[in-house]
Amino acid sequence: MSTKVIDTSVLPKTERRRRAPSGTATAAAVALAAAAIVPLLLGDFASFVGARIAVTAIIGLSVIVVTGYTGQLSLMPYTFVGIGVFVAAHTITGWGWPFWFAAAFAALLSVPLSVLVGLVAVRLRGFYFAIATLTFASAVGATLFEWDAFTGGQKGLSVARPVVGPIDFGGDKAYYLLCLATVLLLVWMVMGLQDSRIGRAMAAVRENETAAATLGVNVMKTKLVAFVVSGMVAAIGGVYHGMLLQSVTRTPYQTPFVEAVGVTLVILVVVGGMRSPWGPFIGAAIIYVQLEVFRTALFLQYFIAAVTAVAFVVVLLKLPDGLVGLIKHEAANVRRAPRRGGIRVAIIIALNVAVFYAIWRLSQ
């Protein structure tokens, strides 16, 4: 393209804005190290909760791709999780496949279903897309998951945790580290999508389908790609979910549970942050840790739903980018004014710790 400059000096002036310098690498490294070590120090149960958080984060990444990036609300993530769960049961336990191969196979097996559903759903917008996925979730639950040879009928199936060479991932601590490593890999992959041809097309489709098409973006194909990638990620999550539980039945993947957990997952991702691959991880961590803390406080149990609802509404109103948005905002404050920003962060953390401590004391 020619470098000839066309004069637009008649346009109003604005000062040039600079990108914030990134000092986040160290903070991220510290947070990751803490995420890897703290559950191990707290013991097997905490590691199990940690693995649950990581697995939920993997499944939540499927929501990021199709809903966060592309703006289409799919309510059938757990249908793909179900495929992963039962594929894991057959291939890992039954046929002795390595877990990573089973994960790749589950991802591949999800494609025909997501293409089938996708070809219908991508023609629809917004509300109708969501309803279509809901219907398919119910239909798959009533057909594929009713197939006893696939799901093991009422008894269900068992899934073994992997042993790779000398490393046994059977224990909760070791399995947690495996899940953490996987979620980091998948976050990295989904992050790569953001700054790419297809990721930008997804964002364009989310914000304005007509404008996207005018710029040469194939809207239906973009939605279909998002839906297929999302299904693959959810199926991989399903393999890890199966290994986490070690014993699986079809019930959670059938009506009415499959719809309910699908909606709950979307809420979790919205709280964590819809636009960032870290959102599901942070959302799952905050919600599951709280659930465990509240669980010990018997008399507070009944308030969990109310507290969650209030937190959700606050996020919707004040934090469109969820907790990831809050973290980014506070980090920017710290960079701009280290002392005042630091005090703000300290107060937020102290308030959280105080609430947790109070609940823990009250429950003793």
């Binding site: 604005t14 790569g192 973006v217």
Partner: protein, 261 residues
């Protein structure tokens, strides 16, 4: 050889005739104006040309290729760019990101390549950076690079939208009222800018504009539309002298001018 041509376009909305046997033809590198009173069917014609509306009958060809049945994105890829009367940009994205989205046509890396950061993705991202830098330099929007549409004036947004559609490297550019809602000074800059774009990028421009001095000074040929029908076409002088045009459009403009003063 005509680049963009329509034959016998007809479109009705219920009892309203929106397009009535419209035949137009635009040549390579030409700047052609489209005038007509409100509701004459100008934007409807643009929507039919860009594939957002399907005509009841008629043909649209681009470089002798029949694109009557092509979807909007296929027409964009075939070289038909357009802007809207009400600016359509991506509000959640900065100018830089908007223009990156607009480079879609020139990139090819796959989903897997992006997820694994393969060399083809790297090449794409290097290319997109270069292309956005070039278009920001061409339209001189560098200083707005990191602003979101909500932070910019309407006039600036018109230029951003223009930059986005030019990123397509279209053969034909359809501009729907590029001067509406922008300051007088900016509107005056638009005429030379459009000619510059045509000269630098070598694309034909077909524009709807209510700013008559701008339309008549920049256009080499003009079509006049009323009640969905082409009532006159020719050089700006010929069309403004046409009796039908005087009564349907310029007459009305004169009356509103009087009323406004």
């Amino acid at each position: 050889m005509s680049l963009l041509r329509t034959e016998g376009l007809n479109l009705r909305f219920g009892g309203v005739v929106a397009l009535d046997d419209v035949a137009i033809s635009i040549d390579d590198g030409e700047i052609v104006g489209l005038l007509g009173p409100n509701g004459a069917g100008k934007s409807t014609l643009f929507n039919v040309l860009s594939g957002l509306l399907t005509p009841d009958s008629g043909r649209v060809t681009l470089s002798e290729r029949d694109i009557s049945r092509a979807l909007p994105y296929e027409r964009a890829l075939a070289g038909l760019g357009r802007t809207f009367q009400h600016i359509k940009l991506f509000p959640g994205h900065t100018v830089d990101e908007n223009l990156r989205i607009a480079q879609h046509r020139h990139l090819s890396s796959s989903t897997v390549a992006a997820m694994l950061r393969l060399p083809s993705w790297r090449r794409d991202e290097a290319e997109v950076r270069e292309r956005v830098d070039a278009i920001l330099e061409l339209i001189d929007l560098e200083r707005y690079r990191h602003h979101r549409p909500g932070e910019l004036s309407y006039g600036t947004l018109r230029f951003v939208e223009l930059a986005a559609v030019l990123s397509l490297r279209p053969q034909v550019l359809l501009l729907d009222e590029p001067a509406s809602g922008i300051a007088q000074r900016e509107a005056e800059a638009l005429g030379p800018l459009l000619r510059e774009i045509r000269d630098v990028l070598g694309c034909a421009i077909f524009l709807i504009e209510h700013d008559m001095p701008l339309l008549l000074s920049v256009s080499e040929r003009v079509y006049a539309l009323d009640f969905g029908k082409v009532i006159a076409h020719g050089t700006p002088d010929e069309v403004t002298a046409d009796d039908h045009v005087l009564s349907s459009y310029l007459g009305r403009t004169r009356r509103t001018d009087v009323a406004a003063s």
